[in-house]
């Protein structure tokens, strides 16, 4: 794919001085370029749609000599992660990318990477799990890896992909935990957008070479990941738990640091949009956030006090941010692009869970939408808001949005054009 330089820092005085060039690239390449800028030393990956172009581009970059890295072709995702673990434990900066079933195949080693406290960064292109086969977006693949000890980011734009990869290495190497960056299949992975690529020198300042606090040393042989008895296992788990807890402040700090150097910020773990005076707020993640911004703008122009919280980081869960939001809103809707069978949408569960012990507990509604690549449009979001505003309490634990069903009770209704029949306001808390 042609990368067109659409802006020129010299001509356009508005551009931030950290920018080397602005190129129009797809989401997967936004990741590849960031990997190059991060001076990753080992790349091991196995191809799977729609991740392939991430590593395809990297293979070109490495073979052109633009990145001094070992590019390892492997026979499975399991091996890809094994290579990352091996190289990371020897002190190298490692990267891999996968998607869906590939991520599932890595599962065992995801535990291994986190348990070994290795700062590996992985891009996962969110793709629905099979069967039925699908190559389109939803988040069940990454959310199934919730408890492996990996940090999880969800990107809204190609620029955010690039920036998050750079942030991710810094965060990972600070807390000694691996980071997974998720981007929506096709909607982001294969859509071209302008991306500002920063200057290498500034990236190098922001992200210096990795200094591993422990690594394999052949002159001092040791066994890594050794067997541990019940007298110490729990403590090791606690260390990992703490590291994840500590990651929250590190993520915020790194984002601030990033903003200072590069002029862009993503708010740390969440980003809020028009929430200050909002009564009803929707929490969602990834590309649906962009769509939701449009819906919120529309409803605002009609006078509805609605807002939006973008969940950028799912692990560690933004407990403080959600609780803070709960203090001043009446209703929270959570739109999940996933489902936990036998329960509800996963983010919905987690949102409710963090609020249960909080002093302020608005009503929390769960919506499931956009599975297997079903489009989430501004209309979808508005449907959700119509439901939210016309209900005091949720009628069921999860509302499946735009479900093709003859059951009239199931699902939300389209938002009326003029807003007629929708409850206007119950007053700010």
């Amino acid at each position: 794919m042609m990368e067109k330089n659409v802006a020129n820092t010299k001509r356009d005085g508005l551009l931030h001085p950290s920018i080397d060039k602005v190129v129009v690239i797809e989401g997967t390449h936004a990741a590849s370029h960031a990997v190059k800028l991060a001076r990753v030393q080992v790349i091991a990956a196995y191809p799977i749609t729609p991740q392939t172009s991430v590593v395809e581009k990297l293979s070109e970059i490495v073979s052109d000599g633009d990145l001094d890295a070992k590019f390892i072709k492997v026979e499975s995702e399991h091996s890809a992660m094994a290579c990352c673990i091996g190289s990371s434990i020897s002190g190298a900066r490692a990267f891999t990318a996968t998607s869906s079933q590939g991520l599932a195949l890595m599962h065992e080693l995801l535990h291994w990477a986190a348990g070994s406290r290795l700062p590996i960064v992985m891009v996962n292109v969110n793709r629905a799990m099979a069967p039925p086969w699908s190559i389109y977006v939803d988040h069940n693949d990454s959310l199934s890896q919730r408890d492996t000890g990996w940090l999880q980011f969800y990107a809204e734009s190609n620029q955010e992909v690039t920036d998050t990869v750079l942030q991710a290495y810094k965060i990972a190497e600070t807390v000694s935990l691996p980071v997974m960056i998720n981007l929506d299949a096709f909607v982001l992975s294969h859509t071209s957008e302008p991306v500002a690529l920063p200057k290498q020198e500034i990236v190098d300042e922001f992200l210096p070479a990795r200094k591993a606090s422990f690594k394999i040393d052949t002159s001092d042989p040791k066994a890594f990941g050794a067997l541990i008895g019940p007298e110490a296992y729990m403590e090791m788990r606690y260390k990992l738990y703490r590291a994840m807890e500590d990651a929250r402040s590190v993520i915020r700090e790194v984002d601030r640091d990033f903003a200072e150097k590069f002029g862009r910020s993503y708010g740390g773990l969440v980003e809020e949009y028009m929430t200050e005076d909002a009564e009803t707020v929707l929490i969602t993640s990834a590309t649906a956030v962009s769509t939701a911004r449009i819906a919120v703008d529309e409803l605002r122009s009609m006078g509805f006090p609605v807002g939006l919280m973008k969940l950028r980081v799912f692990r560690p869960f933004p407990v403080d941010e959600v609780r803070e939001l709960a203090k001043h809103v009446r209703k929270i809707g959570v739109m999940d692009r996933n489902v936990s069978f036998g329960a509800t949408g996963i983010i919905y569960q987690e949102t409710k869970a963090v609020l249960y012990n909080a002093a302020d507990r608005p009503s929390v509604f769960g919506f499931i939408a956009g599975l297997g690549g079903r489009d989430i449009t501004p209309e979808t979001i508005k449907e959700i808001f119509s439901y939210l505003m016309n209900h005091d309490e949720p009628e069921s634990e999860s509302v499946w949005v735009s479900l093709k069903t003859s059951d009239a009770d199931q699902g939300a209704r389209p938002f009326p054009e003029t807003g007629a029949g929708i409850r206007r306001s119950e007053g700010v808390k």
Binding site: G115, S176, K222, G225, A226, E235, M236, R242
Partner: protein
């Protein structure tokens, strides 16, 4: 050892790792198969009839120890300059690299090593103490030369009786200059003489030297080759203008230019036919080879057939001569009959059968018949067993008459090639040595050759086979100077580098590096030791070894026990 005790989370490392090495855990008890170091034969070595230790001398080439490399070849073959040029190199056919990206150009490296030592050379001295026994060798072709040479390495004096005026057999009088320049042959024969081998030329047994003269020797090796052209058996074969291939080539190699007309027809499909055809072409003639089967059945070295085609020799297949006719005693026309292929014969090739009524004629000024050679054994007493036209010998090259051995093209199972003659000479020398009451040193235990799948090609990046330098076809078809050139040093090194060194440990440390139990160590002399207290028999070393120089044997097997005693 110190026991570490952590009481709080804060004291613990971020990851569970041992604070000491894991040597205290004797994982050797888990093992049920045992890795052992065991050099194996390479398929090229096993296939080379002369038994050249190819991977060994290639390693010396890589170290640029060209003299040592030459010495290594000379252990098995005194004529590497010759075989490096004209051997049909079966070794390459079995090369493990063949299926990967092309066989190693073994015989080109062999030639490079020989040529690199062309000047200032001195052969290594005999390996065994001088003996009092003397051996006579009849014939100075490759079989005779190889036998006399190996005998002198074993400490014997030998005398070669040669009927011709100069030594070398078919190497001199058969194979033309453009494939094997005489100075190469002369040099290698001189070397053999320098070891004390006496060559008596113009001494034909059964003619000017009586068979009984050989009685004073302790053993005799008969290597008289197959020097007589087979008759076509068609009327007119004695007309002027009809040559045998052997006579024609011999004329040329003694510096004379035989009289040939413009239109030359060559009968036959072997090396002699092709060499005669390419030689006639070099005399500026139009040449057609007539062969009774098809191209695939031609016994000549395939590369030579290709060369002949490139140079412009014409081929007519599935034809056989019926009659040669002419006027004033001179041949001018040949009558031919068409053939077709029938059932396979004992050689496995499909037998040509005549197509009745398909006769036709071709104009010809010169006809060269090269349909095969046979030995002249008329000098031998009747008591010798024969098989067909050849002298019968067993695998030890004995003839059945005590003390008389035979080999090469004159004897049974000759395969009719230079390198097989060299093998026969070498093996006969060993048999003679044993006949004279000595025990020969065995080459040690011989294991199977390394199979392609035992080579770990991961360690060998793809690199195509070398392009052999040569003079252009335009030039080659007009001159008797050598067609193929010697590899440059750079080419030879690159090519030697391509060799996997199947089955011979190169001390690359791969096994040691990969052992997950750090159970392999290397001493100052560079030898590896496996610590079986810790080796848990995972086999990774064996799997990783680039060249199959290790083996996994069942625990408790006899080999395993022996191996341990060895170590």
């Amino acid at each position: 050892m110190t026991k570490y005790k952590f009481t709080t989370v804060e004291e613990m490392p971020p990851l569970a790792f041992s604070l000491e090495s894991t040597r205290e855990i004797p994982t050797g008890s888990w093992r049920h198969v045992r890795p052992v170091y065991r050099d194996k034969n390479s398929p090229c070595h096993v296939t080379c009839p002369a038994g050249e230790k190819i991977p060994d001398y290639f390693e010396l080439v890589r170290q640029k120890k060209y003299k040592e490399a030459w010495y290594k070849i000379l252990e098995d073959n005194p004529l590497p300059g010759v075989t490096g040029r004209v051997c049909y190199h079966p070794c390459e056919g079995q090369c493990n690299r063949a299926g990967y990206d092309g066989a190693v150009a073994i015989h080109n490296i062999e030639r490079f090593v020989a040529d690199k030592n062309f000047k200032n050379r001195k052969l290594p001295a005999a390996v065994e103490a001088r003996k009092s026994e003397k051996v006579a060798v009849i014939g100075s072709g490759p079989a005779g030369l190889s036998c006399a040479y190996q005998l002198s390495r074993l400490g014997y004096r030998s005398v070669i009786y040669e009927a011709d005026h100069e030594p070398g057999g078919m190497l001199r009088y058969g194979i033309p200059d453009y494939r094997l320049p005489k100075k190469i042959l002369d040099k290698e024969i001189k070397d053999i003489e320098a070891l004390g081998v006496e060559i008596m030329v113009d001494s034909k047994i059964g003619d000017n030297v009586a068979w009984s003269e050989l009685e004073r020797y302790d053993a005799v090796f008969v290597a008289v080759g197959a020097t007589h052209s087979r008759k076509i058996g068609a009327p007119g074969e004695d007309l002027k203008g009809v040559y045998t291939g052997i006579d024609f080539l011999k004329e040329l190699s003694t510096g004379n230019v035989p009289k040939v007309g413009r239109q030359v027809l060559v009968l036959g499909g072997g090396n002699t036919a092709i060499d005669a055809a390419r030689s006639a072409l070099r005399l500026g003639k139009r040449v057609t080879v007539l062969y009774r089967r098809t191209r695939v059945e031609m016994p000549a070295v395939p590369e030579e057939i290709e060369e002949a085609e490139k140079e412009g020799v014409h081929f007519e297949f599935l034809v056989t001569p019926v009659k040669i006719s002419g006027s004033k005693g001179k041949a001018s026309e040949i009558e031919l009959m068409k053939m077709q292929l029938g059932e396979p014969d004992e050689s496995g090739r499909r037998r040509p059968v005549p197509v009745i009524g398909s006769n036709f004629s071709m104009r010809a000024d010169t006809i060269i018949s090269a349909i095969g050679e046979e030995p002249d054994l008329s000098f031998l007493p009747y008591s010798f067993l024969r098989k067909g036209i050849r002298l019968f010998v067993d695998d030890e090259h004995t003839t059945g008459v005590p003390g008389i051995f035979a080999g090469g093209d004159a004897a049974t199972n000759p395969n009719g090639t230079v390198v097989n003659a060299i093998r026969a000479g070498k093996e006969a020398a060993i048999s003679i040595h044993e006949f004279l009451g000595w025990r020969s040193r065995s080459n040690g235990v011989s294991h199977d050759a390394v199979k392609p799948e035992e080579v770990n090609t991961f360690y060998f990046p793809h690199e195509g086979r070398v392009e052999v330098p040569r003079i252009t076809v335009q030039k080659s078809k007009t001159t008797f100077s050598e067609v193929n050139k010697t590899l440059t040093e750079e080419q030879a090194l690159t090519e030697a580098e391509r060799c996997f060194t199947c089955g011979t440990c190169l001390h690359c440390d791969v096994c040691m590096t990969f052992c997950p139990d750090v159970a392999i160590s290397k001493d100052e002399s560079g030898e590896y030791t496996i610590d079986y207290e810790h080796c848990k028999g995972c086999g990774i070393c064996v799997n990783e070894c680039p060249r199959g120089a290790m083996e996994l044997v069942p625990e408790g097997a006899r080999e395993a026990v022996e191996e341990v005693e060895h170590i």
